[in-house]
């Protein structure tokens, strides 16, 4: 266990380095929300996640990154798994690159394009529903941001998760408390999340979204659940870079040379 946690923490460190290098090379991007979901993505992909295709050509375990602006984190993790050549990461957002600012399913390992907030959970439901109806194995993970919960479609989709009792769905909220215009509390509060999700018939777990033991346990619990799952992962926007942590201005901007050097120093 200890060894595994060290391994995952090391991978996360590499992912954070890639994220900062990618955004610095691109000259723009979303560092805050990428850094807040690093452990979540690493935990999902490195914990019994089956990327193989079943007999129908359908991926066994799936992830929908509904908060598509965390593309740098997503691409870096897919690269660590061999789906994207590492050198390509630094072409992010460039005119001759296939690495779009928000995920496109033209990229190997990405099942569906995303980025327009609020849409991913419905897609994940459809995938999970297919597995249920056709008795296919596997789990469907979906990562949404907490600000994204302001989108009405999320709540439409939760009713669908509940209607079809999609207990093979694991929704993870990257609960970092911030959105572009400020704190979520001030913009349009989505407070009492546990209560809200409970009332929508979900099996709710609240965890520290940067603690691998917590994340892995919650995923294992979710897999035993008889209800659709939501994991509220409490996270820190900009996690790992002191001057970015909990700072709303780091939602969507690149770093100056000085900031870049400071960030790299902190990470290593």
């Amino acid at each position: 266990m200890e060894e595994n946690l060290n391994k995952l923490n090391n991978i996360s460190k590499n992912i954070r380095n890639d994220i900062i290098d990618m955004i610095y090379a691109a000259g723009c991007g979303h560092p805050g929300g990428s850094l807040s979901c690093v452990e979540l993505l690493v935990a999902i992909y490195y914990h019994n996640f089956n990327m193989n295709l079943d007999k129908n050509g359908d991926r066994i375990d799936k992830l929908v990154l509904s908060k598509g602006h965390a593309a740098p984190a997503y691409y870096a993790v897919l690269s660590s798994l061999g789906y994207i050549p590492h050198k390509d990461l630094f072409t992010l957002r460039k005119i001759d690159s296939y690495l779009e600012g928000h995920p496109s399913n033209k990229i190997s390992g990405v099942d569906v394009s995303s980025g327009s907030l609020g849409q991913g959970l419905s897609v994940a439901n459809g995938m999970a529903l297919s597995k249920k109806i056709y008795n296919n194995d596997g789990y469907v993970y979906c990562i949404v941001g907490d600000g994204e919960l302001e989108e009405g479609q999320i709540w439409e989709a939760l009713m669908t998760s509940n209607k079809y009792n999609l207990n093979n769905l694991i929704l993870i909220v990257d609960n970092n408390g911030l959105q572009i215009d400020g704190s979520i509390k001030n913009v349009k509060s989505v407070d009492n999340l546990e209560e809200k999700f409970n009332s929508f018939g979900m099996y709710v777990q609240s965890i520290n979204g940067h603690d691998f033991e917590d994340i892995l346990n919650s995923i294992d619990n979710a897999k035993k659940s008889k209800k659709p799952n939501v994991i509220i992962a409490n996270t820190i926007k900009g996690k790992g870079i002191s001057f970015m942590e909990n700072k709303v201005e780091w939602h969507g901007k690149s770093l100056t040379k000085e900031e870049y050097e400071m960030a790299k120093q902190q990470l290593n």
């Binding site: 129908n56 050509g57 359908d58 929908v64 496109s104 399913n105 099942d111 569906v112 394009s113 995303s114 980025g115 327009s116 609020g118 849409q119 991913g120 959970l121 419905s122 897609v123 994940a124 439901n125 459809g126 995938m127 999970a128 529903l129 297919s130 597995k131 109806i133 056709y134 296919n136 009405g152 479609q153 439409e156 989709a157 009713m159 669908t160 209607k163 079809y164």
Partner: protein
């Protein structure tokens, strides 16, 4: 006489019995879209997502991504209006293989009035890359076009209607992506039509014939991709051009034909259809008369 929505319902039952991978989504309108017939036969493969069109499209897309054959239905207004961005960003950008079968298109919704009469769905779908658009005009063309859609990858929008339409085609007729159907070879003019206006155009053609005016009618059932060659040939071979549609002339087939003509063979085109107005309540015949979507208007033009 049969509505294209009813033909769609029959088609679903037919392929549903042949292929277990066929699934159908609806948004609390199964009675009206005729997916109810499929639901009766295959309740486990019919998913009513409730009055939540955005979620319905998203869920259907997720299912389609698992290699199932997906049909999603609601009224044209709520599919292309309410769920526009889901169609654009999830279905089309990801190039998901999905059949978006919208019923109750155009003024032909009738008595429910303006909020339910979608007269802009073609315009909205046409600007989306990867999208294919089809509009059948009777029972047989509905079933044959849907059959063709099964062979085509990517998102497809199929424009269906509420009102009953006369049979235009026979079982020998074939339909394909990018195709059209031409009736007659008159050189005095061409009437371009789609869906419910094909029969109107054919009636006008017969009346004109009795007046020694020989026109041809072109059913542009494949709206995207459009049959450019036929449009250009008609412009070259016939004197006058007119289009008639139960849709806004802004962004409808009239606009699409104009777009082809201006780039390839500039020629005047008269457009009959809804001209920058909302619809209203009324029976279909009265509505078509009020909005000048009639054979009389065509005949007056010649």
């Amino acid at each position: 006489m049969k509505s294209t929505r009813k033909a769609y319902g029959e088609f679903l039952c037919d392929i549903g019995s042949k292929n277990k991978d066929v699934v159908v989504f609806d948004a609390d309108l199964a009675q009206a879209t005729y997916t109810k017939e499929f639901k009766k036969l295959f309740p486990n493969r019919h998913f009513d997502i409730g009055i939540a069109e955005q979620d319905m499209i998203g869920t259907a897309c997720g299912m389609a991504l698992t290699k199932k054959i997906v049909f999603a239905s609601t009224f044209a207004m709520f599919m292309t209006g309410r769920a526009y961005e889901q169609i654009r960003n999830t279905a089309a950008y990801s190039n998901i293989n999905i059949n978006l079968c919208a019923t109750h298109s155009g003024l032909a919704v009738g008595e429910d009035g303006a909020t339910h009469q979608c007269i802009e769905d073609i315009a909205l779908m046409n600007v989306i890359p990867n999208m294919k658009i089809f509009c059948p005009s009777d029972d047989i063309s509905t079933k044959k076009i849907l059959e063709e859609c099964l062979k085509l990858d990517g998102p497809k929008y199929i424009r269906l209607g509420r009102n009953e339409l006369k049979d235009v085609y026979s079982m020998n007729d074939e339909f394909r992506e990018g195709g059209s159907k031409t009736f007659g070879n008159g050189t005095d003019g061409t009437i371009f039509a789609i869906g419910s206006t094909v029969d109107i155009a054919l009636s006008a053609k017969e009346i004109l014939k009795s007046k020694n005016i020989n026109v041809r009618v072109v059913d542009l059932y494949s709206i995207k991709p459009i049959d450019k060659d036929t449009i250009i040939n008609c412009a070259k071979q016939t004197d006058k051009l007119i289009s008639i549609e139960d849709h806004s002339i802004i962004g409808g087939i009239g606009s699409i034909i104009s777009n082809v003509l201006t780039q390839e063979y500039p020629k005047k085109l008269i457009k009959l259809g809804v001209n920058d107005k909302f619809g209203k309540s009324g029976d279909v015949e009265s509505l078509y008369k009020m909005y000048n979507i009639t054979k009389e208007e065509i005949i007056n033009f010649f």
